[in-house]
């Protein structure tokens, strides 16, 4: 039996392909949007996975250090080490800073850690040039996206920092590049004030400035100790909030990324709706263009089922080719985005199912037109 859809498409192949490419670009953007969300989830967990600690101790009643601000005394790490089950403890700081770069400053998150302490915040395999921090002062490790090279000097606050290492793929939960400095430098940057400010504070009678603060103390446990048990002990006796790695992951992915994911979800839904409307309009227009032929076919006795099959097959093929173009488009541009975009096959298959279902629904508008076509319209010139 003659496949009418195949013949019709072959007759206007260029137009069909260009139309499919247009819809495909829309679907590609849908895939990119999903990829942006996936990228946010990955980014949110990079630091967490690189540190790979069991417990995060933060200021009481906060969701610190990422979702809420948290300040605690650095000395708490010594106390934690004395708690039964704790193997190692170390202090960390996190702060947003702007690196003075040309043509414009680069916004980064600086992670402060003790290079001689229990934890190295920089995973060795992330370093692509230079080395990790080795001194307690004036060294900085930056990510490749900042554009700095090993050996360059960056002025932060009152001091100059020498770039000693370059990492790749290290970003904060917000997607900003990570840089690493020593804990002491970080504390000075975050908690020390300028001379003018200190003089001003003294004049106001404020003299007690404690720069030995950190944002979190992280701890790893000895084998055989449960995270929850040790966490409960710290909560009870030290009046701090304590999160296990899994809980911190939940905070990052739910509290921090949730709104963004809803935002992206809304955009994605709107884009899918727009794509569906466009497919429906294209099919409707394609059907309208063939109304004379459809009337003739009905007049000479071609059953509706055969004509409807043509419309539905064309819709499905349009959706499928658009899906393929969408994937090609997404894979061509995804690494050009400033933030991480993660394209996953399950998302693509899910989009294919959704778009096929919507394409079938949108073909109904063309099918309705076929059913209502008057065979008598073929008569009379």
């Amino acid at each position: 039996m003659i496949n009418l859809a195949q013949k019709d498409i072959a007759h206007s192949l260029g137009k069909f392909i260009v139309t499919s490419m247009g819809v495909g670009m829309l679907l590609g953007i849908v895939l990119i949007m999903i990829g942006v969300y996936r990228g946010m989830i990955v980014d949110a967990q990079i630091l967490l996975n690189d540190l790979d600690v069991d417990l995060w101790v933060v200021q009481e009643d906060t969701l610190g250090p990422f979702a809420e601000a948290s300040r605690i005394h650095e000395s708490l790490k010594e106390t934690l080490r004395a708690i039964d089950g704790v193997d190692k403890a170390g202090a960390l700081t996190f702060q947003n800073i702007q690196l003075p770069a040309t043509p414009k400053p680069v916004r980064v998150v600086a992670v402060g850690f003790d290079p001689h302490g229990s934890f190295n915040a920089i995973k060795p395999e992330r370093i692509i040039a230079g080395r990790t921090l080795q001194r307690s002062h004036y060294e900085i490790v930056v990510t490749d996206k900042t554009g700095f090279k090993v050996g360059e000097t960056i002025k932060l606050g009152r001091n100059n920092f020498k770039v000693v290492g370059i990492t790749k793929g290290t970003v904060s939960s917000g997607g900003d590049s990570l840089v690493y400095i020593s804990l002491k430098d970080a504390q000075e940057l975050q908690f020390s004030y300028s001379n003018n400010r200190i003089r001003n504070d003294k004049a106001r009678g404020i003299i007690n400035r404690d720069s030995h603060m950190v944002n979190t103390i992280v701890a790893s446990l000895k084998p055989g100790y449960s995270n929850d048990m040790v966490a409960n002990a710290i909560r009870r006796f030290k009046h701090k909030s304590v999160y296990t790695k899994a809980e911190q992951k939940t905070i990052l992915t739910k509290n921090l990324v949730e709104k963004s994911s809803k935002q992206i979800g809304m955009f994605t839904a709107i884009l899918v709706a727009v794509s569906t409307i466009i497919i429906a309009l294209i099919i409707y227009t394609m059907t309208l263009e063939k109304m004379k032929e459809i009337s003739i076919m009905k007049l000479i006795g071609i059953p509706n089922s055969l004509i409807i099959k043509m419309v539905v097959q064309e819709t499905l093929l349009l959706a499928f080719i658009a899906f393929i173009f969408g994937n090609i488009f997404a894979y061509l541009i995804y690494d050009k985005f400033p933030k991480r975009v993660v394209l996953e096959m399950p998302d693509a298959w899910m989009l294919l199912i959704v778009i096929i279902v919507f394409a079938i629904l949108s073909s109904l508008i063309g099918v309705k037109k076929v059913i209502s076509a008057d065979p008598a319209a073929a008569i009379g010139g």
């Binding site: 039996m1 013949k7 206007s12 004379k292 009905k298 006795g301 071609i302 008569i379 009379g380």
Partner: protein
């Protein structure tokens, strides 16, 4: 004894109702034999195309009876839900314009209806090629209508009308867009088909020059079939 191919009894067709009622055909009764070429003529708007569409099971009459061959297809209502099947199996249509499907080749246009009727691709293509040879356009089998001249397209459309081996051919003003010579050629071709294929051919035409080529003329005037005279 001649075999009736079309028989119409007391056929009435009205459009609208109440004050807006328009009577188009009022009690038409006639018959057409197999092998006969009949011209259906009337002033513009008098209902000849409507009558053609009623015979072709496209337009539903208001009342009356229609027989196609031995089968009564209408008796104050359609006697089958599948009027389209009747068209597909019993009737061949020829239009004023060729009305070929532009995205199908000549061969596909001619084989579409037979294949829909369940004839295999191989058999339908064999029959179609014979028809195309008959109309001397077999070398254009793989061309589309856009690649053919007007005359070639008209011949393909006649081949398509014959492809389902119909009992009746209904032609709606097939010569309206042609010059006299080509019009005569087309009507002579239809006469030959009527005889060769033993089918009833009804052509709607205004062109009086075609009347002598037909076996009979059916005229509609003032809603009535006023004459069914043998052409002599």
């Amino acid at each position: 004894m001649s075999e009736k191919s079309i028989r119409v009894e007391n056929l009435i067709k009205n459009f609208g109702e109440g004050e807006s009622l328009v009577e188009v055909i009022d009690g038409a009764s006639f018959s057409i034999d197999k092998g006969e070429l009949v011209a259906l003529t009337a002033p513009s708007g008098a209902g000849k195309t409507t009558l053609l569409m009623m015979i072709g099971c496209v337009e539903e009459p208001t009342s009356g009876t229609i027989y196609l061959g031995d089968e009564k297809v209408y008796d104050n209502k359609w006697l089958t839900k599948e009027t389209r099947k009747i068209r597909r199996e019993k009737i061949g249509f020829i239009f004023q314009a060729h009305h070929l499907i532009p995205f199908l080749t000549v061969l596909e246009n001619v084989t579409l209806v037979p294949q829909t009727n369940g004839i295999s691709k191989k058999d339908s293509e064999k029959d179609a090629m014979e028809l195309l040879k008959y109309f001397e356009i077999s070398d254009k089998a793989n061309a589309t209508s856009a690649q053919l001249s007007g005359g070639q397209n008209q011949r393909v459309s006649i081949a398509r009308a014959l492809a389902n081996k119909p009992e009746i051919i209904l032609a709606d003003e097939p010569t309206a867009a042609l010059d006299l010579k080509r019009s005569v050629d087309v009507v002579k071709m239809l006469k030959k088909i009527a005889v060769d294929q033993n089918v009833a051919v009804v052509i709607v035409t205004h062109d009086e020059a075609m009347y002598p080529l037909c076996d009979r003329i059916i005229k509609i005037e003032n809603k009535k079939v006023i004459s069914t005279e043998v052409n002599s």
